[in-house]
């Protein structure tokens, strides 16, 4: 028997005939929709799939997508990128982070610029690779700049676990982990300071895939009940996304408002309890975490518990890390775009002052942001 390849695992979920079949079903079902609907895919991974596979081109006029804030580097405020920059420039420090961070500019520059300026910045695929760097550089301080949603949070805590248990003395942490449900609430239930409005046009959510593997679908239960927004947790492959869209449309047609799981092969109600316990053990919620483009969002970030302050770079280097807030660009309308109130091309600085090579707002930072996608795919988008 031939060995099982990775391709065998995803091929069915990219089958052109299945995608075409789902397209037909969605288009038929959408004719019965009582009104046009706006679906937010919260996660950048979904945005990527939707763009890569051109799924918007398959949908009828009355189904629209609002690209959500689920790209951890896009929403990183300049203040915290400056922290990474400053830490990386310290003598005898090696800053370690995930590759996605490299291009994102803070007010001082990006980590790519820091490296060109002499900083030792390393990129790892797995946080545990930090251990190898620490062993090879016993006389340096290794600072792990931790980013990401619930998906990557347990990987950071697994590293912390090893560092403490094996008594590594030269690894510190700067924690920037954020959580999904709190920002979903922020988008549909709080005032947008920029335009002084509670408005949003989000009718339903496509729940993230990998985040939900860790958290379980239970974190979305409040959205259908308390906020009247259906949620369908979907996988990242095109067939997953199309099936989830069909499930959402059917909910509207049948007058249901529920939490459903399309990504059943990986997501359970309770999620990964071991990972959740690790997070609980090392982290606690930050009262307010600032999101680029959205401002401060209550309870949406993590920091190390006070008993672990001797590995907390934010505390150890407190005297050199600036605390002053840096305002988002005045003309940037990322908040409106994320709430579905505006399209990227309605922004006055879109494609002019704000471009992928020199992003001003969060939605332009990575290819997963709505503005970057518009900029890149332009006239091929629906």
């Amino acid at each position: 028997m031939a060995d099982l390849t990775l391709k065998d695992l995803y091929d069915g979920f990219r089958n052109p005939n299945v995608i075409k079949g789902l397209t037909k079903l969605i288009n038929e079902e959408a004719k019965k929709l009582p009104h046009s609907i706006n679906i937010m895919e919260v996660c950048g991974g979904h945005t990527h799939s939707i763009m890569k596979f051109g799924l918007l081109q398959l949908l009828p006029q009355n189904i629209n997508f609002i690209h959500g804030p689920g790209c951890p580097v896009c929403i990183m405020p300049k203040e915290r990128i400056d922290h990474a920059y400053i830490l990386s420039m310290q003598k005898d420090v090696i800053l370690v982070t995930l590759g996605d961070m490299i291009k994102v500019p803070g007010s001082l520059g990006s980590l790519q610029d820091a490296r060109a300026n002499g900083a030792d910045v390393r990129f790892v695929y797995s946080p545990l690779d930090t251990l190898k760097i620490a062993k090879e550089n016993p006389n340096k301080k290794i600072i792990f700049f931790a980013i990401g949603f619930e998906t990557t949070t347990p990987m950071t805590t697994a590293l912390i676990d090893v560092v403490l248990k094996r008594r590594f003395k030269n690894i510190l942490f700067h924690i920037n982990h954020v959580t999904v449900p709190e920002v979903m609430i922020e988008l549909i239930d709080s005032r947008d300071e920029h335009v002084d409005s509670y408005n949003n046009r989000i009718d339903a959510f496509l729940g993230p895939s990998h985040v939900s593997v860790i958290t379980g679908s239970k974190i979305y239960e409040q959205f259908p009940t308390k906020y009247h927004r259906p949620v369908v947790v979907a996988g990242f492959e095109p067939v997953d996304v199309m099936e989830a869209i069909l499930m959402i449309v059917r909910q509207f047609n049948e007058g249901r408002c529920e939490l459903e799981i399309e990504y059943k092969r990986s997501v359970s109600y309770d999620g990964n309890l071991k990972a959740q316990a690790l997070i609980e053990n090392y982290f606690e919620k930050t009262d307010l975490f600032k999101w680029r483009g959205l401002g401060n969002v209550p309870d949406s970030g993590y920091h190390l518990r006070p008993e672990f302050s001797d590995i907390d770079a934010e505390k150890i280097y407190a005297n050199i890390l600036p605390r002053k807030e840096i305002e988002d660009h005045k003309l940037c309308i990322c908040g409106d775009i994320l709430r579905g109130m505006a399209k990227p091309d309605e922004c006055t600085i879109f494609g002019k002052a704000c471009k992928p090579q020199s992003p001003l707002g969060s939605c332009m930072v990575s290819s997963e942001g709505a503005c970057a996608a518009y900029y890149k795919y332009g006239n091929l988008l629906k």
Partner: protein, 332 residues
């Protein structure tokens, strides 16, 4: 442009193009340089002339080493202008402490590949620098070749052409990345590093109407197609499912979030061939082991001039862009 040189500016993609045009083209401006071909055509069209530097890490990798790469790289640039490589120069910058035995191994690889191309090294230079000034060894080769067929140029592609690729793509980039990241693969993945001189000469001997050739090195097939779309003012429509990608490369791309079309190759070339000769070209290529799965991947039209459009098997389309950002560590 950035105040400092970043790694992204050497990626073979957008930032790299900006660096070249704003600094080097600006200073060195002349008609030959501005043609922006793989090799310059000089001496009244009789000779092709090209140079390339090699900094790959690791020095030895599955399928080849920096020595073979240094000869293939320059010979292939000459071959892309239909030239038979004749004379090469070889300059090396070696880090203090480098192993003599490894150096001999590298030079043996160079010798073997020179013989394969029927070319000779006629001049050279050696520098040894203090530890830390370079990473082990950097090699530059420059080559001159005799042009066998006039008029091959990436500025002349039209709707009368179709686009072929000589083999499955992305092997070199994927191999180097896996080697650098210490990803252990129980697979046959190896660099495609190979000389293309014989394939090109066979195409010429068969009298195939060749419009343009380019080896898909840094920036991969995406970069080649985008450069062609701009240089020839055409729109290139790629049939996504026809692009040959091995299971191993596809696996690495899925795991690490790459597109195979952005990965570097060192023995894979893209061809723009007159429609009526496409099958003839494929028949010639299929006779060589290294291009036994050559295939047509794209048509030319005028729908989105200057852009490359990827048509998906489920009927949607998107632009295939020039890669941006820092792609991979030094790969050639």
């Amino acid at each position: 442009m950035n105040k400092q040189i970043t790694l992204a500016m050497g990626n073979g993609g957008e930032e790299n193009n900006e660096l070249i045009s704003k600094i080097f083209y600006k200073a060195f401006k002349n008609d030959i340089l501005e043609k922006s071909e793989d090799a310059a055509v000089i001496h009244g069209g009789a000779l092709a002339f090209s140079t390339d530097s090699f900094t790959v890490s690791p020095l030895f990798f599955p399928g080849a080493d920096i020595g073979k790469l240094a000869i293939c790289g320059t010979c292939n640039d000459l071959a892309m202008m239909s030239a038979k490589p004749k004379y090469l120069t070889c300059s090396v910058i070696i880090e203090e402490g480098f192993s003599t035995r490894e150096l001999e191994k590298i030079v043996r690889s160079m010798k073997k590949e020179l013989e394969n191309n029927n070319a000779i090294v006629v001049s050279g230079d050696t520098k040894v620098v203090p530890r830390g000034s370079v990473d082990k060894i950097f090699i530059n080769t420059t080559g001159i070749g005799e042009i066998q067929k006039e008029g091959i140029s990436s500025n002349n592609i039209s709707q009368d052409d179709v686009i072929l690729v000589s083999r499955d793509i992305g092997c070199h980039g994927a191999t180097i990345f896996a080697a650098r990241e210490g990803i252990e693969l129980s697979s046959n993945l190896k660099s495609d590093c190979a000389s293309l001189t014989h394939q090109v000469q066979a195409l010429i001997e068969a009298d195939v109407q060749i419009t343009a050739l380019r080896d898909a090195t840094r920036g991969g097939v995406s970069a080649v197609l985008n450069e062609w779309a701009k240089q020839s003012n055409i729109s290139i429509e790629v049939d996504e499912k026809s692009i040959p990608v091995s299971t191993e490369v596809e696996g690495i791309c899925e795991m690490l979030g790459f597109e195979a079309t952005n990965l570097a190759n060192e023995g894979t070339f893209v061809l723009a061939i007159k429609k009526e000769d496409a099958q003839k070209a494929l028949d010639v290529l299929h006779k060589f082991e290294n291009s036994s799965n050559a295939v047509k991947i794209a048509d030319v039209n005028d729908e989105y001039v200057g852009r490359v459009v990827l048509m998906s098997p489920h009927g949607t389309k998107r632009f295939l862009d020039t890669p941006t950002g820092e792609l991979l560590p030094r790969i050639c």
